[in-house]
Symmetry: C2
Subunit: 448 residues, 2 copies
């Protein structure tokens, strides 16, 4: 027999039952809120045809896709020799990839089912995604995403509701030390248009996306490295150095992008949102990494931790177009479940009273008592009391010890006497008290 | 911009919101029952190191594993030329595979965490698994498994509770036309021992596993093809042709394996289970495909459909041994969610009254009414009423049409008058009645 040292692949994790209870607590809160806002749950496959995935996440993102090797003889009809490079052969031996996010599968789903769906389509989706990234604290190769999206509406109400949903999610999780940052890609487009360097839009976005890590001085260096003009760099830095409240920021940028139609459009969208919601912070240095965003972008930042954004998203006008569905604007937000989990853990915000999932243990004190004991279990389970039957016949002391170790709050002891009298002894494992009672009294004691 | 025809990989499926409601209905029922029996939820990664998976599913099973291509330059340090075969190169370019079932990951988990776990360990697990099988009705390449297992107990109570759980699951799903078939691998081992062909145990299991499809006459041919002795074939066929109730079957086989210690052990285990539970059918032709079972094996068959087993499982004494954990017997059952889903669908057993998940639509009749309308939405959502706000300002008729199409039962109409009077108009979309009411009366009407 082969022997293998058991381990999990790097960047993946097992979740034991204690973690699962906490994870399901988060899931149940977000699901409830999503559904109260009229979002409906869908699920898509964990792998997609690789052509669906590739090209949507930027060059860096594409590198992090996990490819699935074709089944059977994947080298059949593939010519290889010692000079074959992995890049040449990859697409020939792998036609599928694990999903990288839930947004691209959603765009594929909506395009594919456009005739069945009534628009605007509001869906939520909570699934695992995979990225072949370098694992570090809070960053895994396998993790859950938790997304809501509106597809087929360019109403500013989507942005407003998303701000409300974000607020409600974190407040329901008892966490209030967060900020919602808002920007608009059109404003960034306006800046490069105004500087007459429209073709540098993507480079600018990529550079300022790093500002969290490298700071303003780092951005200066980064832009120099990217061959931005010294004069332009000064103008750009001025924008990101500007300090003020939302109104002051808007007034400042308005003067800057004065002659850019797209820039003013972006500002107009920001102002509309500000008309209805004040609990946001305009931040022109917010760029978001993904390439498909076209106007509103936002991010949720913890005020008391440096572990990065807790949620983020934005509006994308053209994502479904690659799958043949035009003129369909979408907007969504993705909640970073793993970071939220860590945050609640660090701040001790999980409910203290998570119930031990097993409430009663029934003893197993002999073959002749088994049927009677099993019937007691049955009655308890029918009343939704999580009940464990001790599996082997052994000394009472050992069985009580087991219940004690597992922190099971009640033990029902059934011996010859109990069976004869058609009663049971209920032992409270916390107080140590025990009581001989009729069967129909058990629930009263346990539910006290 | 590239254009791609959107599709999903063969053997995988999208689940829309209607299907999700039904799937979650099944999940919630099984989860409740599992937890009432004292099982706790765990989750393991979707891919494992390939060495963990390989060798546990028989030759055929191993072929169905999905391999994940190594990231980066997977050909670095790999010598290839035109004669390289896919079998030679596979293990060099892929170190991970998608999980094939939940039992092997469980064995890996338990072995890895043996010091943290208190035994017997009772866990349930509901996750996607993947098999590169030929897709057909009810068989997919991506599907959910839904498993419970006891690890670290050889008590016959496990078998009894599993029978009870199976029964409870199907009855709670309103389906009662099923049979639970039971056998014991030790009885099959006894048969080959008695025939003096112990070395043919695996061949016999593989052959009789096909009996459902090929029948007794097909089994005859199959055993001939497998080079079983004519005399032995006659003896084997006699066993599987034997008709009778459980007691008669036991008596018959007892005489057959009279001199086989292991065979008699298997019979003894069957009899012990029969002492406590009668709602099972002994079937010596039940073999189960997987190689790791060592004694009790069982399968749940629908009486009114030919779509194969709805659940199945068995006891395995040595599964954790390959991961270094010895003397740890386990037993489990896996519910075939996809088949159960199809069965409930075919028999129209899903609840008729699945609530439309969106209960109220609030109108959007002008910019000046937006804040007031959003506040009504907020109040409804805080009261857990799934509420959709119509996203754009348009004619009332169009908005009512939208609610009607989406079968939303109530529309709250908010115009200038309603706002002035601090009231709303609630329209019942089924009766057509509408009523101008105070805000604090809305819930009464909607919850009627």
């Amino acid at each position: 027999m082969k022997k293998i040292k058991p381990s999990v692949p790097r960047g993946t994790r097992d979740f034991g039952s204690n973690e699962m209870i906490k994870r399901e607590y988060i899931f149940s809160i977000v699901k409830k809120i999503f559904s109260n806002y009229g979002f409906q749950n869908i699920e898509t496959p964990s792998f997609e045809n690789i052509d669906i995935l590739k090209g949507n996440y930027g060059e860096e993102g594409d590198k992090l896709l996990y490819n699935i090797l074709d089944s059977g003889d994947f080298l059949k009809n593939v010519k290889i020799d010692s000079r074959t490079s992995y890049k040449n052969i990859k697409s020939k031996i792998s036609k599928k990839g694990l999903i990288y996010d839930l947004t691209v599968p959603l765009a594929r789903y909506v395009s594919m089912n456009r005739d069945k769906i009534s628009f605007p389509f509001k869906r939520y989706q909570i699934q695992k995604v995979w990225r072949a990234d370098r694992p570090q604290k809070g960053r895994y190769r396998e993790f859950y995403q938790c997304d809501i999206d509106y597809i087929g509406s360019n109403s500013i109400l989507c942005e407003i509701e998303i701000i409300d949903i974000i607020t409600e999610v974190f407040l329901k999780l008892n966490y209030d030390k967060f900020s919602i940052k808002l920007n608009n890609r059109k404003v960034l487009a306006g800046i490069v248009e105004q500087l007459n360097i429209k073709e540098r839009f993507t480079d600018l976005c990529i550079s300022i996306d790093k500002i969290d890590k490298i700071g303003i001085s780092g951005l200066n260096k980064e832009l120099l490295k990217q061959n931005f003009d010294k004069k332009n760099i000064d103008e750009i830095i001025k924008i990101f150095e500007f300090n003020g409240n939302n109104e002051e920021k808007i007034n400042f940028i308005k003067k800057f992008v004065l002659n850019s139609k797209i820039g003013l459009e972006g500002i107009d969208e920001l102002e509309k949102i500000l008309n209805y919601r004040k609990n946001i912070i305009i931040d022109f240095s917010l760029a978001r990494g993904l390439s498909y965003y076209t106007s509103s972008i936002f991010e949720v930042i913890p005020d008391d931790s440096n572990q990065g954004s807790l949620a983020g998203g934005g509006r994308y006008d053209n994502l479904t177009e690659i799958f043949g569905l035009k003129n369909t604007s979408g907007i969504g937000v993705s909640f970073g479940l793993e970071r939220i989990f860590n945050l609640l853990e660090e701040n001790e915000l999980f409910p203290k009273d998570f119930k031990n999932s097993i409430k009663v243990m029934v003893t197993n004190l002999g073959k002749d008592l088994l049927n009677y004991s099993l019937n007691i279990c049955k009655m308890l389970r029918e009343n939704n009391i999580p009940t464990e039957m001790y599996l082997t016949t052994s000394k009472l002391k050992k069985q009580l010890q087991y219940a004690n170790n597992k922190k099971i709050p009640f033990v029902i002891i059934i011996g010859e006497d109990e069976k004869k009298e058609k009663k049971v002894t209920v032992k409270n494992m916390i107080s140590g008290n025990q009581e001989l009672v009729e069967i129909n009294k058990i629930l009263n004691i346990i539910n006290l």
